[in-house]
């Protein structure tokens, strides 16, 4: 009770909506034991515990960060139920696996079929080359799905239109880098 910091659900939700990763760490610390117990009791391994926990927290992060998310259940319950779903998905995925002898060229074809216009790793690395604020804007908008109003407050911008303009500039900058890379 008087030891490690325990944050309230409302506080954590607000921090997630602002895109603060520290909230994710707190959630991890508060709920790891419950998830670990569940996975290990269901014939999971310690490696799978970490995997399930990570997937769970990212799912929770994406759900909670949305502007229309309302806290109507305890976060710990939400995380545990999400972890159960993740674990069941993982079990299903395991059952779908089969070991086959495969020709590497065929595998290359399959990976090409799911590839996009640009290589994702290239885009990722070029994104990392941008300045921190640009990275933050793009990640918060496209991955976290943060509310534009909250983003405006966090970035110190006046209106939502300013956020859109800023996001546009960052995206175009990244797009230019990617195009230049692929042209070369």
């Amino acid at each position: 009770m008087f030891g490690i910091e325990l944050k309230s659900d409302n506080f954590l939700v607000n921090e997630i909506k602002k895109g603060n990763e520290k909230a994710l760490l707190t959630l991890h610390k508060q709920n790891f034991n419950a998830v670990k117990k569940f996975v290990l009791n269901n014939n999971g391994t310690p490696e799978e515990v970490q995997e399930v926990m990570n997937e769970t927290l990212i799912t929770v992060w994406l759900t909670v960060a949305k502007a229309d998310y309302l806290l109507n259940v305890k976060l710990s319950d939400f995380i545990l139920s999400t972890a159960k779903n993740q674990w069941h998905k993982q079990i299903k995925r395991k059952t779908r696996f089969k070991v086959v002898d495969v020709n590497p060229s065929e595998l290359q074809k399959q990976t090409d079929s799911i590839s996009l216009k640009y290589d994702l790793n290239v885009v990722k690395n070029l994104l990392n080359s941008l300045d921190v604020s640009s990275q933050k804007i793009l990640m918060n908008y496209y991955f976290d799905g943060l509310d534009l109003t909250i983003m405006a407050n966090e970035l110190g911008l006046d209106t939502v239109e300013d956020v859109k303009a800023k996001k546009y500039q960052c995206l175009k900058k990244l797009e230019t880098l990617v195009k230049e890379y692929h042209e070369n």
Partner: protein, 351 residues
């Protein structure tokens, strides 16, 4: 510029699935007809997927004990982006591989390649955040301890001693009341004939009633004692009635002619004695006396009121307001007993 921004934002909405209804249909129609827009959408989709991948890896890095994204300082130089030359082909050395039966786009494929096998060393900041103490809880703990100390001192330093004092006071009051009631009971027992004769009836009833009340309300009673108002020593004339022989001799005396002479012959003045008379104010409004060892205690008689005391045949009589009362030397509290014998009253008056 504004049009461009809106156009990009519209594509974002389409890619995020936020377009619905007519606007979605209109966008799809435009997408079919406008090749430039289609290229732009596919380009933007790839970039967005790359952004998502980067963010996902960043979050996983945070979860695995890596740096926090907000505090990243080790970024590649802007002018020289560190970019892989080309996507590396999948290793061909494996003779077998694990594939999906139903192939789906799954980001974890990419993540598993880039994530380290073991958690990276936590930065000091992340560690400090994890183990940060919640001072609010310590404040609550301090307040709870102070409250406990206060309650402890209140109970053992004030409440229990106070209750003990109250109990001791109560016991002393009850003991006093018991003594008084015992004395009063004796007095009542001796006053029964008087009560039956309706003499001083109201006084007795009032007194006993007040005593009973005082016993019932011992909790609210403060200790009150009887108070000595005045102490006086009285010289008393003592008379004795002569016996019949003496009377006969007296009657046979030739000098005796008048009634006064008869009286002088009937009663003989024996000796002058003195008693101490104490006038008390009774705390319980007791009206009566107590006579013992040549000391007469009278209760609730005004201090200024003069008393007349006479001995007749070794019996003490008190005259108050023209009325004689017989004083019994019982040593107990007694009610005033009015003397009604007219002959005796006349005799006492004549002495």
């Amino acid at each position: 510029m504004k049009i461009e921004i809106d156009r990009v934002h519209l594509i974002d909405k389409f890619l995020r699935g936020e377009l619905v209804g007519a606007s979605l249909d209109a966008f799809k129609n435009k997408l079919r007809s406008d090749q430039l827009l289609a290229d732009e959408v596919s380009s933007q989709r790839a970039i967005i997927e790359g952004i998502k991948l980067a963010r996902r890896e960043q979050l996983l890095l945070v979860l695995n004990g890596g740096k926090l994204a907000n505090n990243d300082t080790e970024l590649s130089p802007k002018a020289e982006p560190k970019v892989e030359p080309k996507p590396e082909p999948i290793q061909t050395s494996h003779t077998s591989a694990v594939v999906f039966e139903k192939i789906e786009v799954n980001d974890s494929q990419f993540i598993s390649e880039t994530l380290p096998d073991e958690p990276t060393t936590s930065t000091l900041e992340a560690f400090e955040y994890k183990t940060k103490h919640n001072l609010n809880n310590w404040y609550f703990a301090a307040a709870a301890i102070l409250l406990a100390v206060f309650i402890y001192y209140y109970i053992f330093g004030y409440y229990i001693p106070h209750q003990q004092i109250l109990q001791a006071n109560k016991d002393s009051i009850i003991a006093t009341a018991d003594n008084n009631s015992a004395e009063l009971t004796n007095a009542e027992a001796q006053q029964k004939p008087l009560v039956q004769n309706n003499r001083n009836d109201s006084t007795l009833k009032d007194s006993s009633f007040q005593r009973t009340d005082s016993l019932k309300n011992t909790d609210s009673l403060s200790t009150k004692n009887d108070k000595l108002m005045k102490e006086t020593r009285y010289a008393i004339l003592s008379f004795e009635t002569l016996n019949s022989g003496v009377q006969d001799n007296a009657l046979s005396s030739p000098n005796q002619n008048s009634e006064a002479a008869n009286h002088s012959k009937l009663f003989k003045k024996t000796e002058n004695s003195s008693i101490r008379v104490e006038k008390w104010h009774s705390a319980s409004n007791f009206k009566g006396y107590k006579f013992k060892n040549n000391t007469l205690q009278v209760f609730d008689i005004p201090v200024d009121e003069s008393l007349n005391l006479k001995y007749l045949d070794k019996g003490l009589f008190l005259k108050k307001n023209g009325i004689y009362y017989k004083i019994n030397p019982t040593g107990q509290f007694e009610q005033f007993q009015k003397e009604t014998k007219s002959e005796l009253i006349k005799t006492l008056d004549s002495l």
